[in-house]
């Protein structure tokens, strides 16, 4: 079927669409913290947390094809770094972000050492072990003096009270009075900042020489090696970076809540699975996938949170979910996942691209038209990750 409309990449129409999208996103981002209800701001902040974690995980999977079930541990490293520095040493929460980044980077790079040698299911199991061990480690009595053990830590975030009404950046106070309810937009903006940083790092990597070499490793590691790519160092850095970025939304969790315990859901393996699901439903291997996935995940969770009461479920689908005595968001997502894997294995973003391709065709710029000096990556994002595809055998005797 021939597409109805055709748009030139880089032409005025494509720019108009880009600007329109940017304006829409900008409008929503401003609307939520200024006009939205408190619960909406809360939901949005949680969505941002998931976004950051899923984006980090996506860097690993989309680029190097490695699956990690241990990202909840890196997330938790972020949470506990902030919690410990704030409660034990009285640091300002924002200053703990770079510390968490570095700590998680180091742990991630160390974990990547076995990851260099193993693949697929084995790697999934090793990282799963990390995810399982982390909460146990935090509870370990010998380090309870630091981590607070199973009881956790209190007052891990910003302390706003009568005497301390606001948070200033070098004497500049853009948030007004931060007591009580007004504090919510503040966390929202921290979330935006964290997601923006992670997004920009991922995007920068995709378009760069390093990004290309990562896809080269995933496609054909022997050939990548004879191009001069140092496999061990490159993979280690990406694993470390993915871990480091995942710690940042973890920090936010500690900042906005007043209590941190090792049993917080996102710090256990449940967190790892959630990040993975968010990423896959949104679209693994594309930059926007995890972002869309997190928004949809939170919307569904929010909409169905009172479905514990069967009368609240719309009558049409009541028979399906009424038996559940917990909110069925997880079940709905699991169903969505199964359906998606059949109709669109590349997630919602993949589905959108398939659909839009029927209507609009984007004409790529002709080759050699002056863009060789700063070439764009082939797929405009992280090139497609294909879940069912075996990596093609390159050097045949491999």
């Amino acid at each position: 079927m021939k597409p109805l409309i055709s748009i030139k990449s880089g032409g005025p129409a494509s720019w108009a669409i880009r600007i329109a999208c940017a304006l829409a996103v900008g409008y929503i981002l401003l609307w939520i913290p200024t006009r939205g209800s408190n619960s909406l701001i809360d939901t949005a902040t949680t969505a941002l947390t998931l976004m950051g974690a899923a984006l980090s995980l996506n860097l690993l999977l989309g680029f190097t094809g490695q699956i990690s079930l241990g990202h909840s541990a890196f997330f938790g490293i972020g949470t506990y770094t902030t919690a410990i520095f704030v409660t034990r040493w009285g640091w300002s929460p924002l200053k703990t972000l770079p510390v968490a980044f570095v700590v998680a980077f180091v742990v991630g790079a160390v974990v990547s050492l076995p990851a260099l040698r193993i693949k697929g299911v084995y790697l999934a199991l090793v990282t799963l072990a990390l995810g399982v061990v982390f909460p146990q480690f935090i509870k370990w009595p010998k380090i309870a003096w630091l981590t607070g053990g199973a009881r956790g830590l209190n007052d891990t975030g910003f302390k706003f009270d009568k005497n301390n009404r606001t948070y200033e950046i070098f004497g500049w106070n853009p948030w007004g009075n931060l007591r009580g309810e007004n504090v919510k937009p503040f966390y929202f903006w921290i979330g935006i900042g964290i997601v923006a940083i992670i997004y920009l790092i991922c995007r920068g990597l995709v378009k760069s020489r390093v990004g290309r070499s990562l896809i080269a490793i995933r496609d054909n590691s022997t050939a990548a090696a004879v191009m001069g790519v140092n496999l061990a160092v490159t993979k280690g850095i990406v694993f470390g970076l993915s871990a480091a970025m995942c710690a940042l939304p973890g920090c936010l969790t500690a900042m906005k809540g007043s209590v941190v315990t090792p049993d917080t859901a996102l710090l256990t393996v449940v967190g790892s699975i959630t990040f993975l699901i968010v990423m896959v439903v949104g679209g693994a291997g594309s930059l926007w996938g995890p972002i869309i996935g997190a928004v949809v995940f939170e919307l569904i969770t929010e909409k169905t949170s009172d479905w514990v009461d069967p009368d609240k479920i719309p009558s049409l689908i009541r028979p399906i979910f009424s038996w559940s005595d917990t909110a069925p968001a997880g079940g709905i997502f699991a169903l969505a996942l199964v359906v998606l894997m059949f109709v669109a294995p590349l997630g919602l973003v993949g589905l959108w691209k398939q659909t839009i391709a029927r209507v609009v065709s984007v004409v790529p710029r002709p080759a050699g038209s002056g863009t060789l000096d700063a070439p764009e990556s082939s797929a405009g994002g992280i090139p497609t990750w294909r879940p069912q595809q075996e990596p093609p055998a390159g050097d045949e005797a491999e």
Binding site: I215, A216, R218, N220, T222, M227, P364, S378, G394, E396
Partner: protein, 237 residues
């Protein structure tokens, strides 16, 4: 002048030793051909030189030992490899494959862009498919891409493992013409593994015969084809 000198080169996979103390030399400006039956160890020789498998012996490139160097350092030193089979990156576009070939270069995107244009003019088929995924190219086009990509690192020595595998005779001829031209015009030295012995012998400065990991004969193409038994066994006429 000797560009590459490997002496007592021994290599293998795990407990299996495939190459047994072979000596190979490539002088500047030469095209050296390695002939041998399937499983003789030709690909293993290439890998041992490019540092992608563990090896023993002395290997010198431009007078410096590269015996202990890792694969990426060897590429930086100026040795590029076209691996056997289609070693392209299927998910990257043709253009990005070429950029990946320039991974070790530090001379800026301008010079790299110029080189891409140059290889596009040598292989016009690649230019037509510049933004296409490499995985969607035909076998012959991928082989051209693999060679162009290896040359993107501006090597002094090209290790080329059976570039004609799976190609139509006409394309094979075209490819060999290009290699010959690069050798004459740019002084590129080539270590070539080729099953199509007749074709390879035409352009070879010197030839090595490899049999189960041992070099059984070496010399100029004329010398080797003058030897009846060698001609029968390897050249088939």
């Amino acid at each position: 002048m000797t560009l590459l000198r490997a002496q007592g080169l021994t290599a293998g996979y795990g407990p299996v030793t495939v190459l047994h103390e072979i000596d190979i030399e490539v002088n500047e400006g030469e095209i050296v051909v390695v002939l041998g039956a399937n499983g003789a160890g030709k690909t293993t020789t290439m890998r041992a030189i490019s540092g992608t498998i563990p090896r023993h012996g002395t290997i010198e490139f431009q007078g410096h030992s590269i015996q202990k160097a890792a694969a990426d350092a060897i590429v930086r030193a100026g040795v590029a490899q076209v691996p056997q089979g289609r070693g392209t990156f299927p998910e990257l576009s043709v253009q990005d494959n070429l950029l990946a070939g320039a991974y070790v270069r530090r001379d800026g995107s301008k010079a790299i862009g110029d080189d891409i244009r140059k290889w596009f003019s040598v292989f016009p088929r690649l230019e037509e498919r510049a933004t296409q995924r490499a995985g969607s190219l035909s076998g012959g086009e991928q082989q051209m891409l693999a060679i162009a990509r290896a040359l993107m690192s501006r090597p002094k020595l090209l290790l080329c493992d059976e570039p004609s595998m799976g190609l139509a005779p006409l394309i094979t001829q075209e490819l060999f013409n290009v290699i010959g031209r690069l050798n004459r015009e740019e002084g590129l030295s080539v270590l070539l593994v080729e099953q199509n012995a007749n074709l390879a012998m035409h352009m070879a400065s010197r030839v090595y015969l490899l049999e189960t990991g041992v070099i059984v004969a070496s010399g100029s193409a004329a010398e080797l084809s003058a030897d009846d038994s060698i001609r029968k066994a390897y050249l088939g006429f």
